[in-house]
Amino acid sequence: MKPGRMIIEVMRSFFKKPVTIKYPAVAFEMPDKFRGKLKFYPEKCIGCKMCMRDCPTGAITINKIGDKQFEAEIDLGKCIYCAQCVDSCLKKALEATKDVELAQLDSRKLKVVFNASPKNTP
């Protein structure tokens, strides 16, 4: 075994661009099938609550706020981003987006209400 066998690899690495992405400064795209923050389309929801039934952590709640009108309350702290609710939804009223920057300092801000009823509107 000759000493310094890895030296070629080391020299080559001098001229390569870094593998690391300088994350907050440089944005990067999530893969196409990525399961991020959920999006709710209230006009499609029929209130069957299949998503509530299949959610492994109980992160999603569908409330009736009026005649054929529903709001979705999603607890992003509880959500494990498996997107089972998206698969369970019969009317495709839920969608997983590529949004990953969800960190909050205040845990109350992790509760997201889509199509909120007047009492839930901040």
Binding site: V19, K33, F34, R35, D54, A83, D87
Partner: protein
């Protein structure tokens, strides 16, 4: 220090050499290890009980989180058991896709292990190299499933995501790069003097001992035991692909390194065959919400060895019992044997060589008394609850007053 002196050193639960909390109590004479006591249970999460509280579909995501590295292994194993009870015949494309993700997972797990092993023997360059190349396979996994870990690929009755032609092309190209890299690592492992000298003769587990202690996976195969669930009891699409079971006769940590590296090449072989012969058709069939009464055992060759799941259904939406046997539990007894009469400095690499995953292993506690080996005690849920309250009260912590204080604290703030 006198030679006749014996010392007992606690290593863990919190220790820089161990990545997970696990306690090893080492009896030493000088530098030599006289015996090791392993105590599991610091990471018990009550997953089996939690499985009984959720529906079969919710459990798929729960068992996926038993292990972060072999998440696909646990979910596939569970899903296979449920499908067997329900009598579901899943489409062949789903079987192939499960095999594909399983092998990609094995590649990423073995590369991760090689890096960790390099780190434990002070060869950090190897860690940097392998983890850089691991990114390639992590990227393919993200392309195929959406996530780097916890893929969420399995569902009862098939898989959830399909792959298309352009992804297949990308993956084949990436596999070529990885194969080239792996060949380089094999060359390094078989010719680099520092690796050979550091790993040879360390953590020896003979063929007989491997059989007697029921070692599984690469740990057993490095001792010459030709045992692989993929070959012995083919599941998913393993019956349709050709590959060899890698064994080695070194019986030490060096053998385990060689087995894992050569297994990578076999994995690339399987990935190529799967991608080229991917059958067309649906990826999932509709599964019933209520699984008929029955029970099944499912076996799966995880990167660390044989993973076993037992599922019992009583005809409802929720399972009556789920039992998970992670591969580390089978191998941890062998570690005790490997360390005896060896040096203390070998301990980190010997423990790392079984690729331990202690969080996956911790299930439940059975108390056996040291003075009487036959006397055993199993605590029921209410007994355990009373025991824990009593344990804390003896040490001056009373939760009833603590709870009150916490509530008052919230009110005032």
């Amino acid at each position: 220090m006198h030679d006749s002196h014996k010392f007992k050193i606690p290593i863990g639960p919190q220790h820089p050499a161990l990545k997970e909390p696990e306690s090893f109590s080492v009896a030493l004479k000088g530098e030599k290890i006289l015996g090791v006591d392993i105590r599991l249970g610091y990471n018990h999460r009550g997953i089996e009980k939690a499985c009984e509280e959720r529906t079969f579909l919710q459990d798929v995501y729960l068992v996926e989180r038993v292990c972060g590295i072999c998440s696909h292994s646990h979910s596939t194993c569970f899903v296979q058991a449920v499908e067997e009870i329900a009598g579901l015949e899943i489409p062949s494309r789903a079987k192939y896709l499960r095999t594909l993700i399983a092998e990609l997972e094995r590649v990423h797990s073995h590369l991760l292990w090689l890096g960790v092993a390099g780190h434990e023997i002070g060869f950090d360059t190897l860690l940097m190299y392998t983890w850089r190349d691991r990114e390639i396979v992590m990227d393919i996994l993200a392309q195929f499933t959406g996530n780097r870990v916890n893929y969420g690929m399995n569902t009862i009755g098939g898989v959830r995501r399909d792959i298309d032609v352009s992804q297949v092309k990308d993956a084949l190209k990436a596999v070529d790069t990885l194969q080239e890299r792996t060949k380089y690592y094999i060359e390094i492992a078989t010719s680099e003097v520092t690796i050979i000298k550091r790993l040879s003769g360390v953590g020896v587990l003979s063929y007989e001992d491997a059989l007697r202690l029921d070692a599984v996976g690469p740990t057993a195969r490095a001792s010459g035991v030709k045992r692989d669930v993929r070959k012995d009891d083919p599941y998913a699409a393993y019956a349709d692909v050709s590959f060899d079971v890698i064994t080695d006769n070194h019986s030490d940590v060096y053998g385990r390194t060689v087995v894992r590296l050569k297994e990578l090449l076999e994995s690339f072989k399987i990935i190529r065959q799967v991608l080229e012969n991917l059958p067309a058709g649906p990826i999932a069939i509709k599964a019933p919400r209520k699984i008929p009464a029955g029970e099944a055992i499912s076996r799966y060759e995880a990167p660390r060895g044989e993973d076993v799941h037992f599922v019992k259904s009583n005809g409802g939406e929720k399972p009556e019992r789920v039992k998970i046997r992670a591969p580390t539990l089978a191998n941890v007894q062998a570690v005790k044997h490997m360390l005896k009469d060896r040096f203390l400095a070998d301990m980190p690499i010997v423990i790392a060589a079984i690729d331990p995953c202690f969080s996956c292993t911790d299930r439940s506690i059975e108390i056996s008394y040291l003075d009487d080996a036959r006397k055993k005690e199993v605590l029921t849920w209410p007994e355990l609850h009373a025991y824990s309250i009593d344990w804390h009260r003896k040490r001056g912590i009373d939760f009833s007053s603590l709870n009150k204080k916490l509530k008052e604290g919230f009110k005032t703030s």
